[in-house]
């Protein structure tokens, strides 16, 4: 027989001003069955108030407690602790919300009092059915996986490793560094991107607690928070990394040299065996099987002959590795959008119409022109450069409706660099200049005032070649008239888009993504680095377009979230999760269909019968499976059918 205690709070006058709390307590004890004790107190949440509960539990041998006071969102934990102190399981307590949902919203004293009593009656009925629950404990594998070795992944990996935890870093490209390694100078300080990034890259390579897999991809992920198993495929490099000394002779000798260089955004070229860029980490070459003569025709093999270390091996099979990790940071970054949908800008037709990333490579000291700004068509130094912003951003028709966030700033930077490095006059076509960031607005002003960039508010309708010049036709919407400029080069600020295989990885990880395939955070404001999957966190542009400072901040945030998991001996989780009664389950797996968290697994009983089983590590306790189960085999602890019916029946 349930023995319930009811504790009615006055909350000063907040409740007592509208609800006759004394009468409520009296009537609760008299009229509601299972109530063996009821009392009221001025502030239940105060220490003496809690003490009343603690003592009542002992004195009246209570099996359940109902606190009639404020919202459980306010003080549920407070009263759960009080119950625990009194020797009662904290999950045998419920709160009747007679403040936010009664005394504060109703004026009539009689009605509010009656409603308070009813709310208590419902809760008493539910508490009579509650069972003691105990937090779930999950062991933790003390190792983190970081996917992606751009600046976000590098920062997250270093932060975790520096906090004495092991990290596995997986990078798809032959070298870590990501897009930041491609940049020349960075806004708003104009410090050299590679100069600040490469030391961090080296730190990653040399860190004793970071295991780096470059030219490798995540093949599959299983398990749950604290206990993930990750299968990694290492692509065949063609080079034995144990033997390679990184001397680069193979690269020099390779006869296939006209391959567009990915690192240089297609502006320069590379050989078939190549090191992506001089400061690459790791610094081993990789053979591009698509272009290598040996892979295509079984001929050549020059690199192998020239390699003194005997490191060229021409392997073809990927190698698979399994790593157990406790938590995952996803930092896969973005792809620059190819502005081919803008036929009117002539990208891909006129050689001097380039994307911003290409421009970045042209001005970079490590680029194909060694940092001298030359236009691609004839190698001349451009005197006048037009920049077009929002190419693919803020465009519902041809591109994406979102703002790519970094283009205003890097375009201003490009305008400044064009002036510094080539003495060129810049024209910037913009919709709005978005410069919200520390020192950002000042930076835009600097481009305009010190480096003479002319900002024209309006869109460009056409770019075409006229002799050696490019004619840029557009509209100045501030002056309300058409503009026509004769320039030497046009730079398109093309949109930031999600990685082309972002959706594929998301499905492996079972994390959510939006319609553009950017990964979705658990809450846009309060949980910006969590995903909907416990133990997996987001860093950088895989979540949304952002600049380097924001990326690095988010990476450190993700690292600290990951560390919170790794620093625990075991994880405790709320026990309010679903369970399956295998006797009732007929293995239709409707529950698996509705579970967003992949928490439903298949289990074979000793009798050979297949049933579904809830993985307590993955279940978040939403209860969708419970209401989907036709047999009533599933129940959600703390919200079982019985408990809810008890509440309904009490009306």
């Amino acid at each position: 027989m349930a023995r319930i205690g009811v504790f009615v709070c006055w909350c000063g006058v907040n409740i007592a001003g509208t609800v006759d709390v004394e009468r409520v307590a009296e009537e609760a004890e008299e009229k509601i069955s299972n109530v063996v004790y009821a009392t009221d107190y001025k502030y239940m949440c105060s220490d003496p108030g809690q003490q009343i509960i603690v003592e009542a539990i002992k004195d009246h041998r209570l099996t359940g407690v109902v606190v009639a006071s404020c919202s459980p969102r306010m003080h549920e934990v407070t009263f759960q602790k009080a119950c625990l102190t009194g020797g009662l399981n904290p999950y045998c307590m419920e709160m009747a919300n007679i403040r936010e949902q009664d005394s504060w919203v109703h004026k009539d004293r009689e009605e509010a009092t009656a409603k308070a009593l009813e709310l208590i009656r419902m809760k008493v009925a539910k508490v009579s059915k509650l069972e003691p629950l105990f937090p779930i404990r999950v062991p933790v594998t003390k190792r983190a996986l970081v996917i992606g070795g751009g600046v976000a992944g590098i920062q997250a990996a270093l932060d975790i490793a520096d906090a004495n935890q092991e990290v596995v870093l997986v990078e798809k490209e032959p070298s870590i560094g990501g897009h930041m390694a491609q940049l020349d100078e960075t806004f708003p300080t104009l410090d050299c991107s590679q100069c600040i990034l490469t030391p961090k890259m080296v730190q990653v390579a040399q860190h004793e607690r970071i295991k780096l897999y470059s030219y490798a991809e995540v093949e599959s992920v299983s398990g749950y928070v604290g206990n993930f198993v990750v299968r990694i495929s290492k692509n065949p490099r063609g080079v034995d990394t144990e033997k390679c000394t990184g001397c680069g002779v193979c690269v020099e000798r390779c006869p296939v040299k006209k391959i567009p260089s990915e690192f240089n955004a297609g502006i320069g070229s590379r050989s078939a065996i190549y090191i992506p860029f001089p400061q690459a980490v790791p610094n081993w070459p990789v053979i591009d099987q698509e272009y290598c003569t040996y892979y295509k025709k079984k001929k050549c093999g020059l690199c192998q002959k020239e390699c003194a270390a005997g490191a060229v091996i021409f392997d073809t099979e990927p190698e698979f590795i399994e790593e157990a990790v406790g938590t995952i940071v996803v930092a896969t970054g973005y792809d620059p959008w190819e502005p081919v949908a803008y036929g009117e800008y002539g990208y891909g037709i006129y050689p001097d119409v380039v994307t911003s990333l290409q421009f970045e490579r042209m001005t970079s000291a490590s680029g194909p022109t060694s940092g001298v700004l030359k236009r691609p068509s004839d190698g001349e130094v451009p005197r006048e450069v037009a920049f077009i912003q929002c190419v693919g951003s803020r465009d519902n028709v041809k591109g994406y409706p979102y703002c790519s966030r970094i283009c205003c700033m890097y375009t201003a930077k490009h305008a400044i660099i064009a002036r510094h490095k080539a003495g060129a006059q810049s024209y910037v076509f913009y919709i709005d200049v978005r410069a919200g960031g520390k020192g950002y607005e000042e930076f835009i002003r600097r481009a305009q005032e010190e480096d003479g960039a002319r900002y024209i508010r309006g869109k460009v309708s056409r770019v075409y070649q006229d002799g050696k010049k490019l004619i840029v036709r557009g509209e100045d919407t501030l002056l309300g008239r058409p503009v026509e400029l004769r320039v030497d080069m046009v730079v398109l600020a093309s949109a930031v888009k999600a990685k082309s295989d972002a959706g594929k990885l998301a499905r492996k990880l079972n994390i959510a993504y939006d319609q553009y395939e950017f990964y979705t955070e658990a809450h846009p404001k309060l949980r910006p680095v969590d995903t909907n999957c416990a133990g997996i966190f987001l860093a950088g542009t895989c979540q949304a377009p952002k600049d380097i400072p924001d990326t690095v901040s988010q990476a450190s945030a993700a690292a600290s979230k990951a560390l919170a998991i790794l620093s625990a001996q075991e994880l405790t989780r709320e026990p309010l999760i679903s369970v399956v009664d295998p006797l009732k389950c007929n293995a239709c797996f409707s529950c698996r269909e509705v579970c967003t968290f992949n928490a439903i697994e298949e289990e074979t009983l000793r009798s050979g019968k297949k049933v579904s089983k809830v993985n307590p590590g993955l279940c978040l306790g939403c209860g969708a499976c419970v209401s989907a189960c036709r047999n009533g085999a599933l129940s959600l602890k703390g919200f079982t059918d019985d408990q809810i019916y008890a509440e309904v029946n009490a009306i």
Binding site: W104, K107, A512, F639
Partner: protein, 143 residues
């Protein structure tokens, strides 16, 4: 229908949006009729159709189901299940002769305290118009 008819309305609401929205209505001291009693669930996806029938059998005059706005579900998809289930329940209730207006689905977020209060006002007024629900109410001992 006498003015003294005091309908009983049961609200099945999710913890993350609507329950918090109701709390906000309280914090903002937005007055609404005292006829509604909320049953807090983790998610609108937890709502079993039978809960709604049980509420009507117990004599509820109206049932409100409310969760997060589409796309905002704390558990990503629970509110979509709720929406689909409710669409069918509505038809079933109609079929057995219950006025469709007695069951109401609303998306109310944690920031929509005003909306919660407005919905309660409107819904209570609507239920008052419809009068006591007798179709499914089980006879109690006194009757």
């Amino acid at each position: 229908m006498g003015e003294d008819f005091k309908p009983t309305i049961i609200g099945f609401v999710c913890n993350w949006c609507t329950y918090a929205g109701a709390d906000l209505a309280g914090t903002s001291r937005l007055e609404y009729p005292a006829n509604i009693r909320l049953i807090r669930l983790p998610c609108s996806g937890r709502i079993d159709p039978l809960f709604i029938f049980r509420a009507f059998l117990q004599g509820a005059d109206g049932v409100l189901v409310s969760g997060c706005h589409p796309g905002d579900c704390h558990y990503t998809t629970g509110n979509y299940y709720a929406k689909r289930r409710l669409a069918i329940i509505k038809r079933l209730l109609e079929y057995i002769g219950l006025e469709p207006g007695r069951l109401r689905l609303e998306w109310i977020s944690a920031s929509e305290g005003q909306r919660f209060a407005d919905v309660c006002k409107e819904f209570t007024a609507r239920i008052k118009e419809l009068g006591p629900q007798r179709r499914l109410r089980q006879r109690t001992a006194g009757e």
